[in-house]
Protein backbone atom coordinates (compact mmCIF):
# COMPACT_ATOMS: atom_id res chain seq x y z
CA UNK A 1 0.00 0.00 0.00
CA UNK A 2 1.39 3.41 -0.84
CA UNK A 3 2.34 5.59 2.08
CA UNK A 4 -0.48 8.12 2.05
CA UNK A 5 0.41 11.46 3.56
CA UNK A 6 -2.39 13.39 5.16
CA UNK A 7 -2.88 17.04 4.34
CA UNK A 8 -3.09 19.23 7.43
CA UNK A 9 -4.40 22.70 7.99
CA UNK A 10 -2.67 24.92 10.54
CA UNK A 11 -4.86 26.82 12.99
CA UNK A 12 -3.36 29.67 15.00
CA UNK A 13 -4.71 32.11 17.56
CA UNK A 14 -2.65 34.90 19.10
CA UNK A 15 -2.74 36.64 22.46
CA UNK A 16 -1.03 40.00 22.61
CA UNK A 17 -0.25 41.66 25.94
CA UNK A 18 0.11 45.35 25.45
CA UNK A 19 1.51 47.70 28.08
CA UNK A 20 -0.38 50.98 27.96
CA UNK A 21 1.80 54.05 28.24
CA UNK A 22 0.00 55.98 30.94
CA UNK A 23 2.06 58.09 33.34
CA UNK A 24 1.04 56.07 36.39
CA UNK A 25 0.11 52.42 36.99
CA UNK A 26 -3.37 50.95 36.53
CA UNK A 27 -4.52 50.96 40.16
CA UNK A 28 -2.02 53.21 41.97
CA UNK A 29 0.08 56.34 41.48
CA UNK A 30 3.47 54.63 41.04
CA UNK A 31 5.43 55.67 37.97
CA UNK A 32 4.72 53.54 34.90
CA UNK A 33 8.17 53.55 33.34
CA UNK A 34 10.62 50.88 32.25
CA UNK A 35 14.16 50.46 33.50
CA UNK A 36 14.16 51.93 37.03
CA UNK A 37 16.35 50.51 39.82
CA UNK A 38 14.64 47.34 41.13
CA UNK A 39 11.81 47.87 43.61
CA UNK A 40 11.85 51.67 43.51
CA UNK A 41 8.43 52.04 41.82
CA UNK A 42 6.19 50.21 44.26
CA UNK A 43 3.68 51.15 46.94
CA UNK A 44 1.27 49.40 49.32
CA UNK A 45 -1.30 48.98 46.50
CA UNK A 46 0.89 47.30 43.87
CA UNK A 47 2.72 45.30 46.56
CA UNK A 48 -0.66 44.09 47.77
CA UNK A 49 -0.16 45.13 51.39
CA UNK A 50 -3.14 44.56 53.71
CA UNK A 51 -5.54 47.50 53.91
CA UNK A 52 -4.54 49.08 50.60
CA UNK A 53 -7.20 49.78 47.97
CA UNK A 54 -6.79 49.79 44.19
CA UNK A 55 -8.51 52.61 42.23
CA UNK A 56 -8.76 52.49 38.43
CA UNK A 57 -6.70 54.99 36.42
CA UNK A 58 -9.20 56.87 34.21
CA UNK A 59 -6.69 57.09 31.34
CA UNK A 60 -6.24 53.31 31.25
CA UNK A 61 -9.92 52.74 30.55
CA UNK A 62 -9.88 55.51 27.94
CA UNK A 63 -6.89 53.91 26.15
CA UNK A 64 -8.60 50.50 26.25
CA UNK A 65 -11.77 51.90 24.69
CA UNK A 66 -9.76 53.85 22.11
CA UNK A 67 -7.87 50.70 21.12
CA UNK A 68 -11.03 48.62 21.07
CA UNK A 69 -12.75 51.06 18.73
CA UNK A 70 -9.74 51.14 16.39
CA UNK A 71 -9.82 47.31 16.32
CA UNK A 72 -13.52 47.36 15.37
CA UNK A 73 -14.62 45.99 18.74
CA UNK A 74 -17.88 46.48 20.56
CA UNK A 75 -17.48 48.20 23.92
CA UNK A 76 -19.22 46.71 26.95
CA UNK A 77 -21.55 49.15 28.66
CA UNK A 78 -20.91 47.46 32.00
CA UNK A 79 -17.50 46.22 33.09
CA UNK A 80 -16.01 44.88 36.28
CA UNK A 81 -12.73 43.47 37.45
CA UNK A 82 -12.12 39.95 38.71
CA UNK A 83 -9.41 38.22 40.67
CA UNK A 84 -7.43 35.52 38.92
CA UNK A 85 -5.94 33.45 41.72
CA UNK A 86 -2.58 31.71 41.54
CA UNK A 87 0.63 31.58 43.48
CA UNK A 88 3.82 32.74 41.87
CA UNK A 89 6.57 34.93 43.33
CA UNK A 90 6.07 37.65 40.70
CA UNK A 91 2.49 38.14 41.92
CA UNK A 92 2.60 39.74 45.37
CA UNK A 93 -1.16 39.51 46.11
CA UNK A 94 -1.36 35.87 44.93
CA UNK A 95 -4.05 37.08 42.53
CA UNK A 96 -3.96 39.19 39.41
CA UNK A 97 -6.67 41.78 38.91
CA UNK A 98 -8.06 40.94 35.46
CA UNK A 99 -11.40 40.78 33.68
CA UNK A 100 -13.20 37.46 33.39
CA UNK A 101 -16.67 37.79 31.90
CA UNK A 102 -17.03 41.50 31.17
CA UNK A 103 -14.02 42.60 29.12
CA UNK A 104 -13.88 46.24 28.01
CA UNK A 105 -13.89 45.22 24.33
CA UNK A 106 -15.30 42.21 22.46
CA UNK A 107 -16.16 41.00 18.95
CA UNK A 108 -13.69 42.98 16.88
CA UNK A 109 -11.55 42.33 13.84
CA UNK A 110 -8.29 43.33 12.23
CA UNK A 111 -7.87 43.59 8.47
CA UNK A 112 -4.47 42.29 7.41
CA UNK A 113 -3.17 43.61 4.08
CA UNK A 114 -2.33 40.87 1.59
CA UNK A 115 -0.68 40.92 -1.79
CA UNK A 116 -2.43 42.67 -4.65
CA UNK A 117 -4.37 45.00 -2.39
CA UNK A 118 -6.44 42.18 -0.89
CA UNK A 119 -7.07 41.84 2.80
CA UNK A 120 -7.76 39.05 5.29
CA UNK A 121 -10.03 39.49 8.27
CA UNK A 122 -8.80 38.18 11.62
CA UNK A 123 -11.59 38.25 14.20
CA UNK A 124 -10.89 39.33 17.77
CA UNK A 125 -12.65 37.56 20.62
CA UNK A 126 -11.95 40.22 23.19
CA UNK A 127 -9.57 42.78 24.62
CA UNK A 128 -9.53 43.09 28.40
CA UNK A 129 -7.65 45.05 31.02
CA UNK A 130 -5.42 43.55 33.66
CA UNK A 131 -2.36 44.35 35.73
CA UNK A 132 1.12 43.16 34.81
CA UNK A 133 3.12 40.99 37.21
CA UNK A 134 6.62 41.65 38.54
CA UNK A 135 9.84 40.55 36.92
CA UNK A 136 11.74 37.42 37.92
CA UNK A 137 15.45 36.99 37.38
CA UNK A 138 17.07 33.66 37.98
CA UNK A 139 20.43 33.52 39.67
CA UNK A 140 22.06 30.24 38.78
CA UNK A 141 25.00 30.61 41.13
CA UNK A 142 23.02 31.50 44.22
CA UNK A 143 20.33 28.99 43.19
CA UNK A 144 17.56 31.49 43.82
CA UNK A 145 15.20 33.79 41.96
CA UNK A 146 15.13 37.56 42.43
CA UNK A 147 11.92 39.55 42.20
CA UNK A 148 11.58 43.16 41.07
CA UNK A 149 8.06 44.48 41.60
CA UNK A 150 8.44 47.71 39.55
CA UNK A 151 6.42 46.21 36.69
CA UNK A 152 3.64 45.02 39.03
CA UNK A 153 0.50 46.99 38.26
CA UNK A 154 1.57 48.19 34.83
CA UNK A 155 -1.65 48.51 32.81
CA UNK A 156 -2.03 45.70 30.26
CA UNK A 157 -4.54 45.26 27.49
CA UNK A 158 -4.76 41.61 26.42
CA UNK A 159 -5.93 41.32 22.81
CA UNK A 160 -7.14 37.84 21.87
CA UNK A 161 -7.84 36.64 18.32
CA UNK A 162 -10.17 33.90 17.18
CA UNK A 163 -8.36 30.87 15.72
CA UNK A 164 -8.55 32.55 12.30
CA UNK A 165 -4.87 32.56 11.40
CA UNK A 166 -3.74 29.85 8.97
CA UNK A 167 0.04 30.21 8.74
CA UNK A 168 3.10 31.57 10.52
CA UNK A 169 3.41 34.27 7.87
CA UNK A 170 -0.19 35.33 8.44
CA UNK A 171 0.51 35.56 12.18
CA UNK A 172 3.51 37.78 11.40
CA UNK A 173 1.46 40.01 9.09
CA UNK A 174 -1.29 40.32 11.70
CA UNK A 175 1.23 41.41 14.32
CA UNK A 176 2.73 44.00 11.95
CA UNK A 177 -0.56 45.69 11.16
CA UNK A 178 -1.71 45.44 14.79
CA UNK A 179 1.49 47.11 15.98
CA UNK A 180 1.21 49.82 13.34
CA UNK A 181 -2.38 50.55 14.37
CA UNK A 182 -1.38 50.71 18.04
CA UNK A 183 1.45 53.09 17.19
CA UNK A 184 -0.95 55.36 15.32
CA UNK A 185 -3.20 55.33 18.40
CA UNK A 186 -0.21 56.28 20.54
CA UNK A 187 -1.35 54.08 23.42
CA UNK A 188 1.82 52.00 23.78
CA UNK A 189 5.54 51.96 22.93
CA UNK A 190 4.98 48.55 21.28
CA UNK A 191 8.61 47.67 21.99
CA UNK A 192 9.01 43.91 22.20
CA UNK A 193 12.56 44.23 23.48
CA UNK A 194 11.35 46.21 26.48
CA UNK A 195 8.39 43.89 26.87
CA UNK A 196 5.76 46.54 26.20
CA UNK A 197 4.28 44.24 23.56
CA UNK A 198 4.37 40.49 24.19
CA UNK A 199 2.83 37.72 22.16
CA UNK A 200 1.82 34.15 23.01
CA UNK A 201 0.51 31.81 20.34
CA UNK A 202 -1.86 28.84 20.28
CA UNK A 203 -1.33 26.41 17.44
CA UNK A 204 -2.97 23.18 16.38
CA UNK A 205 -3.26 21.12 13.23
CA UNK A 206 -6.32 19.43 11.77
CA UNK A 207 -6.87 17.25 8.75
CA UNK A 208 -7.76 19.47 5.81
CA UNK A 209 -11.53 19.90 5.57
CA UNK A 210 -12.16 18.94 9.18
CA UNK A 211 -14.29 21.32 11.31
CA UNK A 212 -13.14 20.23 14.76
CA UNK A 213 -10.00 21.86 16.12
CA UNK A 214 -7.04 19.64 16.91
CA UNK A 215 -5.20 19.53 20.24
CA UNK A 216 -3.24 22.75 20.64
CA UNK A 217 -0.02 23.78 22.26
CA UNK A 218 0.60 27.22 23.71
CA UNK A 219 3.88 28.88 22.76
CA UNK A 220 5.57 31.45 24.97
CA UNK A 221 8.89 33.26 25.29
CA UNK A 222 9.09 34.76 21.80
CA UNK A 223 10.90 38.09 21.95
CA UNK A 224 10.29 39.42 18.46
CA UNK A 225 7.77 39.06 15.65
CA UNK A 226 10.39 37.06 13.78
CA UNK A 227 10.67 34.71 16.76
CA UNK A 228 6.87 34.28 16.78
CA UNK A 229 7.03 33.26 13.13
CA UNK A 230 9.98 30.89 13.63
CA UNK A 231 8.37 29.29 16.70
CA UNK A 232 5.12 28.72 14.80
CA UNK A 233 6.96 27.23 11.81
CA UNK A 234 8.89 24.91 14.12
CA UNK A 235 5.80 23.87 16.02
CA UNK A 236 3.85 23.31 12.79
CA UNK A 237 6.52 20.88 11.59
CA UNK A 238 6.83 19.19 14.99
CA UNK A 239 3.07 18.60 15.28
CA UNK A 240 2.81 17.40 11.70
CA UNK A 241 5.64 14.92 12.29
CA UNK A 242 3.81 13.47 15.30
CA UNK A 243 0.43 13.32 13.54
CA UNK A 244 1.81 11.80 10.32
CA UNK A 245 3.34 8.95 12.30
CA UNK A 246 0.03 8.32 14.08
CA UNK A 247 0.96 9.97 17.36
CA UNK A 248 -1.05 12.35 19.52
CA UNK A 249 -0.33 15.96 20.49
CA UNK A 250 -0.12 16.68 24.20
CA UNK A 251 -1.88 19.87 25.25
CA UNK A 252 0.84 21.86 26.99
CA UNK A 253 2.74 25.11 27.19
CA UNK A 254 6.02 25.16 25.29
CA UNK A 255 8.82 27.70 25.49
CA UNK A 256 10.66 29.00 22.43
CA UNK A 257 14.45 28.74 22.68
CA UNK A 258 15.87 31.45 20.43
CA UNK A 259 19.40 29.98 20.40
CA UNK A 260 18.36 26.44 19.58
CA UNK A 261 15.46 27.61 17.37
CA UNK A 262 13.20 24.99 18.95
CA UNK A 263 10.27 24.81 21.35
CA UNK A 264 10.54 22.86 24.61
CA UNK A 265 8.01 21.65 27.15
CA UNK A 266 7.87 24.21 29.93
CA UNK A 267 9.02 22.71 33.19
CA UNK A 268 7.48 24.87 35.83
CA UNK A 269 6.35 24.54 39.38
CA UNK A 270 3.23 26.51 38.56
CA UNK A 271 0.00 24.72 39.56
CA UNK A 272 -2.48 23.33 37.08
CA UNK A 273 -4.63 26.18 35.77
CA UNK A 274 -7.47 26.57 38.23
CA UNK A 275 -7.79 30.27 38.72
CA UNK A 276 -11.05 30.47 40.70
CA UNK A 277 -12.06 33.83 39.23
CA UNK A 278 -14.41 35.95 41.29
CA UNK A 279 -15.36 39.65 41.23
CA UNK A 280 -12.79 41.81 43.01
CA UNK A 281 -14.65 43.40 45.93
CA UNK A 282 -11.99 46.14 46.15
CA UNK A 283 -13.08 47.66 42.83
CA UNK A 284 -16.55 48.89 42.03
CA UNK A 285 -18.06 48.20 38.59
CA UNK A 286 -17.97 50.68 35.73
CA UNK A 287 -20.80 51.83 33.54
CA UNK A 288 -19.58 53.09 30.20
CA UNK A 289 -21.97 55.53 28.62
CA UNK A 290 -22.64 55.75 24.93
CA UNK A 291 -21.70 59.43 25.08
CA UNK A 292 -18.24 58.66 26.43
CA UNK A 293 -17.63 56.06 23.71
CA UNK A 294 -18.76 58.49 21.04
CA UNK A 295 -16.42 61.16 22.37
CA UNK A 296 -13.46 58.81 22.08
CA UNK A 297 -14.56 57.56 18.65
CA UNK A 298 -14.71 61.09 17.30
CA UNK A 299 -11.14 61.71 18.35
CA UNK A 300 -9.63 58.59 16.82
CA UNK A 301 -6.73 59.41 14.49
CA UNK A 302 -6.72 58.35 10.86
CA UNK A 303 -5.69 54.69 10.97
CA UNK A 304 -3.15 52.94 8.69
CA UNK A 305 -5.66 51.39 6.26
CA UNK A 306 -7.57 54.64 5.78
CA UNK A 307 -4.41 56.67 5.49
CA UNK A 308 -2.99 54.24 2.95
CA UNK A 309 -6.11 54.39 0.81
CA UNK A 310 -6.30 58.18 0.99
CA UNK A 311 -2.61 58.67 0.15
CA UNK A 312 -2.91 56.24 -2.75
CA UNK A 313 -5.80 58.19 -4.19
CA UNK A 314 -4.78 61.72 -3.31
CA UNK A 315 -1.23 61.42 -4.64
CA UNK A 316 -1.79 58.79 -7.31
CA UNK A 317 0.67 56.29 -5.83
CA UNK A 318 0.83 52.49 -5.99
CA UNK A 319 -0.35 50.23 -3.18
CA UNK A 320 3.27 49.38 -2.43
CA UNK A 321 4.41 53.00 -2.29
CA UNK A 322 1.52 53.99 -0.06
CA UNK A 323 2.21 51.17 2.43
CA UNK A 324 5.89 52.18 2.66
CA UNK A 325 4.84 55.74 3.46
CA UNK A 326 2.26 54.79 6.09
CA UNK A 327 4.74 52.29 7.61
CA UNK A 328 5.24 54.87 10.32
CA UNK A 329 3.18 57.90 11.18
CA UNK A 330 6.12 60.28 10.94
CA UNK A 331 7.07 59.02 7.49
CA UNK A 332 3.53 59.61 6.28
CA UNK A 333 3.44 63.06 7.89
CA UNK A 334 6.82 63.97 6.37
CA UNK A 335 5.65 62.88 2.94
CA UNK A 336 2.46 64.91 3.15
CA UNK A 337 4.37 67.99 4.30
CA UNK A 338 6.73 67.58 1.30
CA UNK A 339 3.85 66.96 -1.09
CA UNK A 340 2.49 70.39 -0.17
CA UNK A 341 5.74 71.94 -1.37
CA UNK A 342 6.31 69.88 -4.50
CA UNK A 343 3.75 68.33 -6.76
CA UNK A 344 5.90 65.57 -8.24
CA UNK A 345 4.55 63.10 -5.65
CA UNK A 346 6.09 59.96 -7.08
CA UNK A 347 9.52 61.53 -7.03
CA UNK A 348 9.09 62.78 -3.44
CA UNK A 349 7.89 59.31 -2.46
CA UNK A 350 10.91 57.64 -4.08
CA UNK A 351 13.35 59.98 -2.36
CA UNK A 352 11.71 59.30 1.01
CA UNK A 353 11.29 55.53 0.69
CA UNK A 354 14.81 55.19 -0.79
CA UNK A 355 17.62 57.47 0.37
CA UNK A 356 15.90 59.15 3.33
CA UNK A 357 14.65 55.98 5.04
CA UNK A 358 18.02 54.35 4.33
CA UNK A 359 19.74 57.14 6.25
CA UNK A 360 17.16 56.90 9.04
CA UNK A 361 17.55 53.13 9.32
CA UNK A 362 21.36 53.37 9.28
CA UNK A 363 21.12 55.74 12.25
CA UNK A 364 18.48 53.54 13.91
CA UNK A 365 16.12 56.48 14.21
CA UNK A 366 12.96 57.58 12.51
CA UNK A 367 12.74 60.48 10.11
CA UNK A 368 12.06 62.81 13.04
CA UNK A 369 15.49 61.88 14.38
CA UNK A 370 17.11 63.22 11.21
CA UNK A 371 18.06 66.85 10.97
CA UNK A 372 16.09 67.62 7.88
CA UNK A 373 12.79 69.37 7.41
CA UNK A 374 10.48 69.10 4.37
CA UNK A 375 11.60 72.44 2.87
CA UNK A 376 15.29 71.59 2.42
CA UNK A 377 14.46 68.00 1.51
CA UNK A 378 12.18 69.09 -1.31
CA UNK A 379 14.86 71.49 -2.54
CA UNK A 380 17.22 68.55 -3.02
CA UNK A 381 14.54 66.56 -4.84
CA UNK A 382 13.83 69.49 -7.15
CA UNK A 383 17.53 70.04 -7.93
CA UNK A 384 17.95 66.39 -8.84
CA UNK A 385 14.92 66.60 -11.14
CA UNK A 386 16.05 69.71 -13.04
CA UNK A 387 19.57 68.37 -13.52
CA UNK A 388 21.43 70.83 -11.30
CA UNK A 389 22.38 67.86 -9.14
CA UNK A 390 23.27 64.37 -10.32
CA UNK A 391 21.55 61.47 -8.60
CA UNK A 392 24.71 60.69 -6.67
CA UNK A 393 25.34 64.35 -5.99
CA UNK A 394 21.85 64.78 -4.59
CA UNK A 395 22.34 61.80 -2.25
CA UNK A 396 25.60 63.39 -1.13
CA UNK A 397 23.92 66.72 -0.47
CA UNK A 398 21.20 64.91 1.50
CA UNK A 399 23.85 63.27 3.70
CA UNK A 400 25.45 66.66 4.34
CA UNK A 401 22.09 68.30 5.02
CA UNK A 402 21.36 65.68 7.69
CA UNK A 403 24.26 66.88 9.80
CA UNK A 404 24.00 70.63 9.43
CA UNK A 405 21.54 73.51 9.30
CA UNK A 406 23.20 74.95 6.19
CA UNK A 407 21.08 75.83 3.22
CA UNK A 408 21.10 73.44 0.29
CA UNK A 409 22.74 76.09 -1.96
CA UNK A 410 25.53 76.52 0.56
CA UNK A 411 26.17 72.77 0.83
CA UNK A 412 26.31 72.44 -2.95
CA UNK A 413 28.78 75.28 -3.43
CA UNK A 414 30.97 74.29 -0.46
CA UNK A 415 31.25 70.70 -1.59
CA UNK A 416 31.40 71.59 -5.26
CA UNK A 417 28.61 69.15 -5.97
CA UNK A 418 26.80 71.15 -8.61
CA UNK A 419 26.26 69.09 -11.71
CA UNK A 420 28.11 70.22 -14.79
CA UNK A 421 25.57 70.76 -17.52
CA UNK A 422 27.06 73.54 -19.63
CA UNK A 423 27.79 72.41 -23.19
CA UNK A 424 31.28 73.83 -23.65
CA UNK A 425 32.70 72.01 -20.63
CA UNK A 426 30.94 68.78 -21.44
CA UNK A 427 32.04 68.82 -25.09
CA UNK A 428 35.63 69.21 -23.99
CA UNK A 429 35.35 66.25 -21.66
CA UNK A 430 33.66 64.18 -24.35
CA UNK A 431 36.55 64.88 -26.71
CA UNK A 432 39.11 63.80 -24.14
CA UNK A 433 37.26 60.56 -23.40
CA UNK A 434 36.89 59.71 -27.09
CA UNK A 435 40.59 60.30 -27.76
CA UNK A 436 41.65 58.13 -24.86
CA UNK A 437 39.44 55.19 -25.86
CA UNK A 438 39.78 54.83 -29.61
CA UNK A 439 39.38 51.06 -29.72
CA UNK A 440 36.07 51.30 -27.84
CA UNK A 441 34.96 54.03 -30.23
CA UNK A 442 35.66 51.70 -33.17
CA UNK A 443 33.49 49.03 -31.59
CA UNK A 444 30.58 51.46 -31.22
CA UNK A 445 31.02 52.70 -34.76
CA UNK A 446 30.75 49.14 -36.04
CA UNK A 447 27.24 48.98 -34.57
CA UNK A 448 27.72 47.67 -31.04
CA UNK A 449 26.31 50.42 -28.78
CA UNK A 450 26.90 48.63 -25.52
CA UNK A 451 30.29 50.24 -24.69
CA UNK A 452 28.67 53.69 -24.81
CA UNK A 453 27.94 53.32 -21.11
CA UNK A 454 31.61 52.72 -20.51
CA UNK A 455 32.50 56.03 -22.17
CA UNK A 456 29.89 57.87 -20.08
CA UNK A 457 31.39 56.22 -17.00
CA UNK A 458 34.83 57.48 -17.98
CA UNK A 459 33.43 61.00 -18.38
CA UNK A 460 31.79 60.80 -14.95
CA UNK A 461 35.06 59.65 -13.45
CA UNK A 462 36.91 62.58 -15.00
CA UNK A 463 34.47 65.02 -13.44
CA UNK A 464 34.24 63.24 -10.06
CA UNK A 465 30.63 62.38 -10.81
CA UNK A 466 29.63 65.96 -11.50
CA UNK A 467 28.84 65.69 -15.19
CA UNK A 468 25.21 65.44 -16.16
CA UNK A 469 25.19 61.80 -17.31
CA UNK A 470 22.27 62.16 -19.69
CA UNK A 471 23.78 65.14 -21.40
CA UNK A 472 27.30 63.79 -21.69
CA UNK A 473 25.89 60.59 -23.14
CA UNK A 474 24.11 62.53 -25.84
CA UNK A 475 27.21 64.58 -26.66
CA UNK A 476 29.48 61.54 -26.93
CA UNK A 477 26.97 59.82 -29.19
CA UNK A 478 26.72 62.88 -31.40
CA UNK A 479 30.51 63.18 -31.69
CA UNK A 480 31.18 59.62 -32.74
Amino acid sequence: MPDEKKQFETVIGLEVHLQLKTKSKIFCGCKNTFGGEPNTQTCPVCLGLPGSLPVLNRKVLEYAIKTGLALNCKINSFIKFDRKNYYYPDLPKAYQISQYDSPVCYDGFVLVPQEKGEEKKIRLTRAHLEEDAGKLMHDHNANCSLVDYNRTGTPLLEIVTQPDIRSAQEAYDYLQILKLTLQYLDVSDCDMEKGSLRCDANISLRVMGEEKLGVKTELKNMNSFKAVKSALLFEERRQEGILQSGGKITQETRLWDENKQMTFTMRSKEEAHDYRYFPDPDLVPFVIEEKAIKGIAENLPELPFDKCNRIKKEYDLSDYDAWVLVGSLETADFFEACAKLHRNYKSVCNWISGPLLQEANARKTGISGLKIEPKRFVEIVKKSEDGSLSNLGAKDVLKQALCSDKSIEQIISEKGLAQVSDDATLEKIADEVIKANLSVVEQIKSGDEKPLGFLVGQAMKKTQGKANPKKIGEIIKRRL
Binding site: T22, K23, S24, C28, G29, C30, K31, E37, P38, N39, T40, Q41, T42, C43, P44, L47, L49, V55, L56, N57, R58, K59, V60, L61, K80, N85, Y87, Y88, P89, L136, M137, H138, D139, A142, N143, C144, S145, L146, V147, D148, Y149, R267, S268, K269, E271, D274, R276, P279, P281, L283, V284, P285, F286, V287
Partner: protein
Protein backbone atom coordinates in the same frame (compact mmCIF):
# COMPACT_ATOMS: atom_id res chain seq x y z
CA UNK B 1 -19.78 14.06 48.19
CA UNK B 2 -16.56 15.79 49.16
CA UNK B 3 -13.72 13.33 49.10
CA UNK B 4 -10.40 13.55 50.85
CA UNK B 5 -8.90 14.06 47.42
CA UNK B 6 -11.03 17.18 46.91
CA UNK B 7 -9.90 18.52 50.26
CA UNK B 8 -6.27 17.94 49.43
CA UNK B 9 -6.65 19.58 46.01
CA UNK B 10 -8.27 22.68 47.47
CA UNK B 11 -5.63 22.76 50.18
CA UNK B 12 -2.86 22.55 47.58
CA UNK B 13 -4.35 25.48 45.65
CA UNK B 14 -4.01 27.51 48.82
CA UNK B 15 -0.63 26.03 49.69
CA UNK B 16 -1.93 24.46 52.90
CA UNK B 17 -0.27 21.23 53.93
CA UNK B 18 -2.66 18.68 55.44
CA UNK B 19 -1.96 15.19 56.73
CA UNK B 20 -4.47 12.30 56.66
CA UNK B 21 -5.88 12.98 60.11
CA UNK B 22 -6.54 16.61 59.25
CA UNK B 23 -8.03 15.95 55.82
CA UNK B 24 -10.64 13.41 56.91
CA UNK B 25 -12.72 15.57 59.29
CA UNK B 26 -12.34 18.53 56.92
CA UNK B 27 -14.04 16.57 54.16
CA UNK B 28 -17.05 16.06 56.43
CA UNK B 29 -17.07 19.70 57.56
CA UNK B 30 -16.85 20.99 54.02
CA UNK B 31 -19.71 18.79 52.96
CA UNK B 32 -21.90 20.09 55.79
CA UNK B 33 -21.09 23.66 54.83
CA UNK B 34 -21.85 23.06 51.17
CA UNK B 35 -25.12 21.36 51.98
CA UNK B 36 -26.11 24.27 54.17
CA UNK B 37 -25.33 26.81 51.47
CA UNK B 38 -27.05 24.62 48.88
CA UNK B 39 -30.40 25.82 50.26
CA UNK B 40 -29.85 28.92 48.18
CA UNK B 41 -30.08 26.83 45.03
CA UNK B 42 -33.79 26.37 45.66
CA UNK B 43 -34.53 30.06 45.29
CA UNK B 44 -35.80 31.33 41.96
CA UNK B 45 -33.41 34.12 40.95
CA UNK B 46 -34.25 34.29 37.25
CA UNK B 47 -35.51 37.85 37.54
CA UNK B 48 -32.58 39.07 39.62
CA UNK B 49 -29.44 40.54 38.03
CA UNK B 50 -26.19 39.12 39.42
CA UNK B 51 -24.66 41.25 42.14
CA UNK B 52 -21.18 42.30 41.13
CA UNK B 53 -20.64 44.58 44.08
CA UNK B 54 -22.37 45.14 47.41
CA UNK B 55 -21.88 48.92 47.37
CA UNK B 56 -24.27 50.98 45.26
CA UNK B 57 -21.32 52.69 43.58
CA UNK B 58 -20.02 52.91 40.02
CA UNK B 59 -17.18 54.54 38.15
CA UNK B 60 -14.72 55.38 40.89
CA UNK B 61 -11.60 56.61 39.13
CA UNK B 62 -8.29 58.19 39.96
CA UNK B 63 -6.64 60.59 37.54
CA UNK B 64 -3.43 59.57 35.77
CA UNK B 65 -1.10 61.36 38.17
CA UNK B 66 2.19 60.00 39.51
CA UNK B 67 2.51 59.84 43.29
CA UNK B 68 5.64 59.09 45.27
CA UNK B 69 6.49 55.41 45.65
CA UNK B 70 8.11 53.71 48.62
CA UNK B 71 11.90 53.74 48.56
CA UNK B 72 13.75 50.53 47.80
CA UNK B 73 14.83 50.38 51.41
CA UNK B 74 11.29 50.79 52.75
CA UNK B 75 10.07 48.08 50.40
CA UNK B 76 12.83 45.60 51.10
CA UNK B 77 12.55 46.12 54.86
CA UNK B 78 9.35 44.10 54.58
CA UNK B 79 11.18 40.92 53.53
CA UNK B 80 13.47 38.58 55.38
CA UNK B 81 15.52 37.68 52.33
CA UNK B 82 16.86 40.15 49.79
CA UNK B 83 19.68 40.42 47.27
CA UNK B 84 20.81 43.14 44.82
CA UNK B 85 17.83 45.38 45.51
CA UNK B 86 15.40 42.51 44.92
CA UNK B 87 13.28 40.07 46.90
CA UNK B 88 15.08 36.75 47.12
CA UNK B 89 12.94 33.62 46.72
CA UNK B 90 13.58 29.93 46.11
CA UNK B 91 14.41 29.30 42.47
CA UNK B 92 11.23 28.87 40.43
CA UNK B 93 12.57 27.61 37.10
CA UNK B 94 14.80 24.58 36.54
Amino acid sequence: MISEKDVKYVASLSRIHLNEEEAKPLAKDLEKILNYVAKLQKLDVKQIAPTSHVLPLNNVFREDIVRPSLTQEETLNMTVDKMNGSFKVPKVIE
